[in-house]
Symmetry: C2
Subunit: 228 residues, 2 copies
Amino acid sequence: LIEMQDIRREYHMGDQTVHALRGVEFSVERGESLSIVGPSGSGKSTLMNMLGCLDTPTSGAYRLNGVDVGSLSKNALAEFRNRQIGFIFQSFHLLPRFNVMENVGLPMLYAGVSAVKRKEAVEEAIRLVGLSDRAKHKPNELSGGQRQRVAIARALVNKPSILLADEPTGNLDQKVGWEIIHLFQRLNEEQGVTLIVVTHDMEVAKTTRRRIEIVDGLIRRDAVNERA
Amino acid sequence: LIEMQDIRREYHMGDQTVHALRGVEFSVERGESLSIVGPSGSGKSTLMNMLGCLDTPTSGAYRLNGVDVGSLSKNALAEFRNRQIGFIFQSFHLLPRFNVMENVGLPMLYAGVSAVKRKEAVEEAIRLVGLSDRAKHKPNELSGGQRQRVAIARALVNKPSILLADEPTGNLDQKVGWEIIHLFQRLNEEQGVTLIVVTHDMEVAKTTRRRIEIVDGLIRRDAVNERA
Ligand SMILES: Nc1ncnc2c1ncn2[C@@H]1O[C@H](COP(=O)(O)OP(=O)(O)OP(=O)(O)O)[C@@H](O)[C@H]1O
Ligand SMILES: Nc1ncnc2c1ncn2[C@@H]1O[C@H](COP(=O)(O)OP(=O)(O)OP(=O)(O)O)[C@@H](O)[C@H]1O
Ligand SMILES: [Mg+2]
Ligand SMILES: [Mg+2]
């Protein structure tokens, strides 16, 4: 499903260059579950943005479903992202002037889904993350963990086939955090959703079948998780 | 040092009222170290905003150094906050158009400290959180954990006597996260800084002498941490 070959990403800042990714290579089968771990600043979010078609590599190839992502038109890319990929951002990226229902429903609005169907799917997604009693709040009227859960609900509402979660439990207590991780596991095991989770929580990292370790823009290790 | 009596905070939204804090009472001695834990949405950040003089209660009294905070003028409050309190926000609140050095130096700029002294203190604070090689980056040129560390460095630069940290390690890997927590412990034990940390990480919560549990806007438990 996913093939990354010699992926590099550089940022040019005046006379300095930051090499965020230095030749990353791996592939992911449909329906796999994998976690990505590594030190702060090592390139995990940069890699997730590549995977989610939100950023293009400085060099290297990214094939998704056999198609070279770099060759797709902007429109084809946007459509694929909207329909197939659910992305939970590390910094949430909620729209401040819209409430929870509107933020969660956004991917369906873009997909042209009817208002009736949107309402039903949004209410279900909000219920799954425990925010039914906050449906009309705006982001600045929510706690940090509630905002994180809105970002999670929004990523799930279009029933994507690929779920990219960048540190989805960083602002959540143990109980709610595990409910979210178990929800992801169900989506992966029962519905075949391909699951990629970046996390700093080593307990969360143990719940996936495979783990990739990134250090300084390179894959240091890529192995099956040993059962605890 | 800190005395909270029957602190309540309500948010009025149309015909509904959210009771974020429902009568919180506790006191903190100078030089104490305590953690605040509890479910997402239970009122921890709201309480931190009260403690940091960034928000006023709907009712109840907050005495800081024997002074009723509610009776202080805006200017007196702002000055006390700037000189005595270091606040690490759950969502960082960095200024997007300024780089790391400028963001970290802001509290000293407000305090009227000379440019020479600011530069020295800022470089030291940035060094302590491991960001010396990112000094000229702007927030959108940083990883999530790097932004969190800028927020931490900024809270420390004025050498505050009270450090309020709202989920300071949520975006950090184990190694860097523990460096930060040990830094806080040193400030508390060696320099008598009063330390209050909100955290979802139970390992971090064990590092303070005392723990307060908040559930649904009320203190459920307030006890000395048993040694592991
Ligand atoms: N401006 C507001 N208007 C209405 N409700 C609000 C507002 N700000 C916060 N709330 C509500 O107050 C409650 C407490 O929020 P608070 O941010 O203190 O929670 P928290 O314990 O810090 O949660 P988390 O662990 O998720 O960060 C939440 O349920 C939230 O929805
Ligand atoms: N726009 C940019 N310009 C320059 N450097 C950047 C830019 N964006 C990111 N970087 C740098 O690229 C590196 C990788 O960033 P990335 O966000 O992928 O890290 P990360 O592994 O997700 O870290 P964290 O665990 O802290 O979230 C970081 O060192 C960061 O400073
Ligand atoms: Mg990141
Ligand atoms: Mg909070």
